[in-house]
């Protein structure tokens, strides 16, 4: 079986999981392998209809209140139990922070081969082959895993989510809670934008050029007009102007929206590693030689304080808000 883990957050399935499920469906069909989906949640039944629309032959659910918030130990325990029961050949995940947290430990505990954070993957006769960005996403490494069980996590935006409805068998797998020696004390909610960065169709990202509250207000307004999530480069996260959850780049989030506004971002390679897969990039920077212009679909050379107000006004007219 090719099993796809479905990540959920606040009662919604993450789009990146549906992207992985869609690609897995075509890989499983080519290999003649059954396709399954696995969801861990306090109330996983609420996702069955939406998952069915993507065509897995089987949907497995594990229910427990502890899955309301991510904690590595119970998630690893649950996945181990599910894998022991379902005996898949390959398990595919969306590469979320939660999965990055458990993937290595799960690999070691199950004896699996692990291909993390891949841009593409395909089934082979003996395992999985995949391409992974390495060296700050300057190079693609072609990698291969040969094992009875292979775990592969996929960067968001690598594939399109495409429906293909089926009538899956739904199975509830019991979760045997184990002892916990890792305790989640508290979650500090981010004070960032209202839209989830990983899921957003439009991202407005701020860099060093966003120097003060006036510029930040313009960034907020551009995001609000376009319904965008707000991102940031490491520089403005370090100054405390934007929350760490907004950081995009090699050490932060990897995003691939349809439209990416880079506002006052120079385009250091560590930042580009997290956004180069965006479909259309609009860059605004007063330095005509800034590296971001190598990546920008439309590069606007000029002062963001002067360009953003008319840009916001024009977009307001288009979006009608």
């Amino acid at each position: 079986m090719l099993l796809v883990h479905i990540a959920t957050s606040n009662g919604k399935i993450k789009k990146s999981s549906l992207e992985v499920l869609s690609h897995a469906r075509s890989e499983a069909a080519k290999a003649g392998m059954p396709l399954g989906a696995l969801v861990l949640d306090p109330d996983p039944g609420r996702y069955v209809a939406e998952i069915s629309a993507y065509g897995p032959g089987r949907i497995c659910t594990m229910a427990d209140p502890i899955f309301a918030s991510h904690l590595n130990q119970p998630v690893t325990q649950a996945l181990k139990q599910a894998l022991a029961h379902l005996k898949p050949k390959v398990v595919a995940f969306a590469s979320t922070e939660a999965i990055k947290d458990i993937l290595g430990a799960l690999g070691s505990e199950t004896g699996a081969a692990v291909l993390p954070d891949v841009a593409t993957f395909a089934l082979t006769a003996s395992g999985v082959k995949a391409t992974r960005p390495v060296m700050a996403a300057k190079i693609l490494a072609e990698t291969e895993a040969t094992a009875d069980l292979v775990l592969v996590s996929v960067r968001s935006g690598s594939y399109d989510a495409v429906e293909s409805p089926g009538s899956p068998v739904v199975e509830a797998i019991p979760f045997q809670a184990g002892n916990l020696n890792v305790i989640l004390k508290e979650i500090l909610a981010s004070a960032g934008g209202q839209v989830d960065l990983n899921e957003a169709q439009v991202v407005v990202a701020a860099g060093r050029g966003v120097k003060d509250d006036d510029a930040k207000r313009l960034v907020d307004e551009l995001a609000s007009v376009t319904g965008a999530a707000i991102g940031a480069s490491r520089a403005v996260v370090e100054t405390g102007m934007f929350p760490a959850t907004a950081q995009i780049g090699q050490t932060g989030k990897v995003v691939s929206p349809t439209l990416y506004f880079a506002v006052g971002i120079s385009g250091a390679i560590q930042h580009v590693a997290g956004m180069a897969n965006s479909k259309v990039i609009v860059a605004i920077n007063k330095d005509a030689d800034a590296p971001i212009f190598h990546y920008a679909t439309y590069g606007l050379v000029g002062d963001l304080y002067k360009i953003l107000p008319p840009l916001i006004a024009e977009l307001k007219a288009v979006y009608g808000r």
């Binding site: 590595n72 305790i183 479909k279």
Partner: protein, 256 residues
């Protein structure tokens, strides 16, 4: 508090990189201490400065990687362990985690820190694999660490917010470079580091055999990232610029 930091020597990824004869080649061949590991060393030093104790470092790598151990000792770590592996071809994250797990059986520490990933491969697996193999509770992607004496409180960057995780000793933490700015070794630190002990360890000393450590994953080749189609750059009056780009987004790119 005794802390072991696992460190790695990596190529400087900010240097231009090309593919030559199927292998990666950097213009400078400059090797550096992995930035995430440097943050681990820094945080370990801050914790032991506040609570007492000692920071040791362990590195797997060829003889020439010793300079990276010296760097960590110059920052303030006390003792270095160098597990000498001249040729790591065929090894993957799991192989390195197995070597570190074998090393950990010979020593006792309250906490083990690793970088959350290495800046060359960006796999981010070895730390949590080591935790699993050593049976240690762990927290990954730490952006802050404090101690209450009996364990650690780790602030980790999660998907939607920051998760506060309590771990009792012994435990493992993988560190983000967003946690701190690693200190630059002082001249005094550099001088002192030359007198500090670096113990050289062979795989055989850990009852390990390189052939048996071959990984289940391998790199079969490298490719350049496909270039983005060339874009256009505009410089004009801000009002005209705004009109023009919104027109392009509407009619050419069709994304709004």
């Amino acid at each position: 508090m005794t802390i072991l930091v696992c460190i790695k020597q990596v190529p400087d990824v900010s240097a231009p990189i090309s593919i030559r004869n199927g292998q990666l080649s950097t213009d400078t061949d400059r090797m550096v201490l992995n930035a995430y590991d440097a943050s681990g060393v820094e945080e370990a030093l801050v914790l032991t400065e506040a609570h007492g104790g000692q920071v040791d470092v362990v590195l797997i790598g060829p003889d020439k990687a010793k300079e990276t151990i010296r760097k960590a000792l110059a920052m303030g770590a006390e003792q270095g362990f160098h597990i000498v592996v001249e040729d790591a071809a065929g090894m993957d994250s799991e192989s390195f985690a197995s070597i570190l797990a074998a090393f950990l059986k010979t020593r006792t520490y309250d906490a083990v820190f690793t970088g959350k990933q290495s800046q060359d491969s960006d796999a981010g697996l070895a730390g949590t694999m080591l935790a699993a193999k050593a049976g240690l509770p762990y927290a990954a992607n730490a952006v802050g660490i404090t101690s209450d004496g009996g364990g650690l409180m780790v602030k980790r960057q999660g998907d939607a917010g920051q998760e506060m995780i309590r771990l009792g000793f012994p435990c493992l933490v993988t560190c983000s470079n967003d946690m701190n700015n690693p200190r630059i070794p002082s001249l005094k630190g550099i001088m002192a580091s030359k007198k500090k002990n670096v113990e050289s360890i062979a795989l055989a000393d850990l009852s390990l055999d390189a052939a048996a450590l071959a990984g289940k994953t391998r790199v079969t080749g490298y490719a350049n990232v496909p270039a983005r189609p060339a874009g256009r750059k505009f410089e004009a009056d801000p009002a005209d610029l705004a009109k023009q780009v919104v027109g392009l987004l509407l009619n050419e790119a069709k994304v709004i």
